[in-house]
């Protein structure tokens, strides 16, 4: 599990919304391995900003609609 605040995601949900897409199909579309998709979905691996934006573009959603950071809001 990565260190720092916990980040949850809706990848699995979005994948199923997109016509029961398999992890392999999603991996191929994003140019990563299936193992990486599994790790992303389970929250064991946090993507780089580049991959996060790529995922957001792929699902046509803003990044914050897919990834959410738990914990207190940063102070203003």
């Amino acid at each position: 599990m990565p260190k720092g605040p916990k980040i949850t995601n809706r990848l699995r949900e979005l994948r199923f919304e997109r016509g029961q897409m398999t992890q392999q199909e999603m991996a191929e579309a994003l140019g990563v391995s299936r193992q990486t998709v599994i790790s992303l979905e389970s929250g064991r691996y946090y993507p780089s900003l580049q991959l996060a934006l790529q995922i957001a573009r792929y699902f046509d959603q803003p990044v914050e609609a897919i990834f959410e950071m738990e914990g207190p809001e940063p102070k203003e």
Binding site: A27, G31, V32, S33, Q35, T36, I38, S39, S42, R44, Y45, P47, S48, Q50, L51
Partner: protein
């Protein structure tokens, strides 16, 4: 299992077999310079890049950012452990022989030390790679 995991398991297997054979020979014939020939088995590690070569050529093997991160961590772990071992040995020598000691080292011993350093790095990298892939 991806290419990097296969390579790590291969390195681990080579080390495992080498240590096992060396231990067995030592148990049977005792400490003998001839036992050292078993260590040449470690040269099999030079074949590591050949593992998964065909998969890479066919474009089946993907190395993505997670793989690169794992390999980077494994590399850091390998050299970190080597540095720790090096410092520990230096401190131990200093403690045992004292600050005025002069050490004569033969050429073959230097070769052996370089080989051992390579072994420490390779083995730590392999173990770290396997652990990090198992963790997900």
């Amino acid at each position: 299992m991806n290419v990097h995991e296969k390579q790590a398991w291969f390195v681990l297997a080579v080390f495992g077999v080498t240590i096992f054979l060396y231990g067995m020979l030592t148990a049977i014939i005792g400490f003998h310079p001839a036992n050292s020939f078993v260590l040449f088995l470690m040269f099999l590690c030079f074949f590591v890049p050949l593992i998964g070569r065909s998969e890479k050529k066919q474009g089946k093997a993907i190395t993505d950012e997670r793989d690169r991160e794992i390999l980077k961590k494994a590399c850091w772990a390998g050299f970190g452990v080597l540095w720790f071992v090096f410092l520990s040995c230096m401190m131990l020598l200093l403690a045992i022989l004292g600050p005025d000691a002069i050490i004569n080292v033969k050429g073959w011993a230097i070769m052996l030390l370089v080989g051992a350093a390579g072994g420490i790095v390779g083995l730590t990298q392999a173990i770290t790679t396997i652990i990090l892939y198992r963790r997900g």
